[in-house]
């Protein structure tokens, strides 16, 4: 019963969040001083010969329709929301006409999700384990060293590591490639090897910083919980240190970390984006970047909307996992 309430309230919250987010994407271009139609027209006229006034007017009509800018605001809004959330039809990409935006996103999204989810899971697991150990035995030298290392890593922007790794391992010691280029047929052994080879540095950029974050936060949580009565009682019962750590400390310390993970997905996605751009990794981040450079309006709107959807859904799923781990939420 309690779980049902929790489930419903979270579901409602997330629907509203997606709603607000996508509305934001709708309104922002319309609030800006620039007009995408004009920009498009200027681009076309710059690249080809000048057109006469009639053709320009016609062009403008067509573009306005295509961009969904015709009609009054309310019509535009409802049409957009229907397209974005229900059918996911964003029209064709303007820079890669006539490929559909959704098709391009479909190819790019798995790359981003793969990179993001793998790095996040590895960082979360490793970081939490290290943090758990560091918080439980907080006076050991190793724990202090790890804490200091995390303090240096944690606040850094993702691009710092991406660039450092590129400088060190792609230029100075050229072990890894500069730009991503995965060869071979999908899922052949060669393909997998290539994939791992190309993904290593991008993933590492994300993992290093995220691990720092998890180690630090877990250490704080774990050293707080170590003072709790039930941990002291576990010691009184004569249980071994290992048992206390894994059966008593870990299940309790994990709970706030799961919530923290859910809140962090947005940040990790942004990080994955920048890493993709710097490594030319063919994910959705790269797609957003290119579409902005080329003023590909349909693509911009499409990729950003899908990003919002993807991140929100991931956050939502993680959020729902929380009651599975905490019986106080699950049961009355």
């Amino acid at each position: 019963m309690k779980f049902l309430t929790y489930f419903l309230s979270r579901t409602l919250t997330f629907i509203l969040i997606i709603f607000i987010g996508v509305t934001l994407v709708f309104f922002l271009p319309r609030l800006m001083p620039t007009d995408p139609v004009e920009i498009m027209l200027n681009n076309i006229q710059a690249n080809s010969s000048t057109m006469d006034a009639d053709s320009v007017a016609q062009m403008r009509e067509v573009l306005t329709q295509n961009f969904g800018l015709g009609g009054n605001l309310w019509d535009q809004y409802t049409a957009f929301m229907r397209r974005a959330v229900l059918t996911q039809d964003f029209g064709p990409s303007l820079s890669m006409y006539p490929t559909l935006v959704t098709e391009l996103i479909g190819k790019a999204l798995p790359w981003t999700m793969g990179l993001m989810l793998t790095s996040t899971i590895i960082a979360w697991v490793i970081g939490n384990i290290i943090g758990l150990l560091a918080g439980f035995r907080k006076n050991k030298l190793l724990s202090k060293i790890l804490e200091s290392a995390s303090i240096v890593l944690y606040p850094l922007p993702y691009y710092v590591f991406a660039l450092t790794l590129i400088m060190l391992f792609a230029y100075i010691i050229p072990i890894f490639p500069l730009a991503t280029n995965v060869m071979g047929m999908p899922w052949s052994w060669e393909y997998i090897k290539n994939l791992l080879y190309n993904s290593f540095l991008p993933a590492l950029s994300l993992i290093l910083i995220d691990t720092g974050w998890w180690v630090l936060s877990m250490k704080t949580i774990s050293s707080d919980i170590t003072e709790e009565d039930y941990i002291i009682f576990a010691k009184l019962k004569g249980l071994s240190k290992n048992k206390i750590m894994w059966n008593y400390l870990a299940p309790n310390a994990m709970l706030p970390q799961v919530t923290a993970l859910a809140l962090r997905i947005g940040t990790v996605f942004s990080g994955a984006m920048i890493v993709e751009i710097l490594f030319s990794y063919p994910g959705i981040g790269m797609l957003i970047y290119n579409s902005v450079l080329q003023s590909d309006y349909n693509m911009i709107v499409g990729t950003i909307t899908i990003s919002i959807l993807a991140v929100s859904i991931t956050t939502y799923v993680i959020d729902l996992a929380y009651p599975l781990l905490d019986p106080r939420i699950r049961l009355r």
């Binding site: 009682f233 019962k237 059966n247 008593y248 709970l255 019986p327």
Partner: protein, 334 residues
Amino acid sequence: MLKLSNVSARYNVFDYYVNVINNVSFTVNENEIFGIAGESGCGKSTLLKVMYDFIEYPFEITSGSVELESAGANGEINKYKNGEIRNRRWREISYVPQGAMHVLNPVTKIGAQFYDTVSRHNKSVNKKELNDRIVAYLKELELPPEVMKSYPHQLSGGMKQRVMIALATFQNPALMLADEPTTALDVVVQRGILGMLSRVQKRINNSIVIVSHDLGVHYQITDRMGIMYAGEMVEIGPTDELFTNPRHPYTKMLINALPRIGDISQKEGISGTPPSLRSPPPGCRFASRCMYASELCKKLPPCKYYISGTHQASCHLLKGLYPKLQPEEAIPRD
């Protein structure tokens, strides 16, 4: 079978020491309920930790020894000193800490919290057998078997306390230490818990040490009692005797402050506060609040005096009235 001899202990705080236990000696015998009473901050909970060998820096024992004696399976006597007692946790000796509210792991079932004390000792225990045994025991303590599958937050405060007592006794340890087992519970539940403790003790004939600031609790179920003040044991003896014939001024004032039915005299509190244990006074620690205090009391710490074979107190006023208990002499046994 648990003997403390001249135990002193202190806390290390940055650049000074707090002397929380000073020269405490007493014995807990087999098959008895021993109470330790005193006001907040007198060191009774800390004393319990010393008895349980739960000593971690910055807390340390500076002198004295703790010895636990228990009968082994084949009738042999095993002796454990402090340092070794911690290996016998939950076998010969168990501990119920203060506040059953928060001592259970909130995310594991109660049953699991019973099991993990067992598997450490005998790895080859049949889980089903164990479960049945525990459920049967819970029944005796008036706890339903569903408790095993519940989580701590689903139980009431009184139930949690009972579960704690069940946890501490289901392996029949010879000695159980209970720190304020009835505080924060209402009187009705309190009576139930005390009744349960009493029944358990009679059934398995173990010893229980109860620490409580509530003299009423001691009166109800303890056989012998020790009164603590400012880290020292000022009077020890059979409970009835302490209530009818207290010899130490502090004990007297404590007993006098208890309201009794039919008693209409004015009740007085004990004015003042306990001395700082960071730099304790050179003489008797109760001197500053004692109405009988003399100059000697403030300068010299009192010796222990025998009031009877089982009753002793430390006060200068008893000099000449009763035989002295020399430090080297044995501690009186029942």
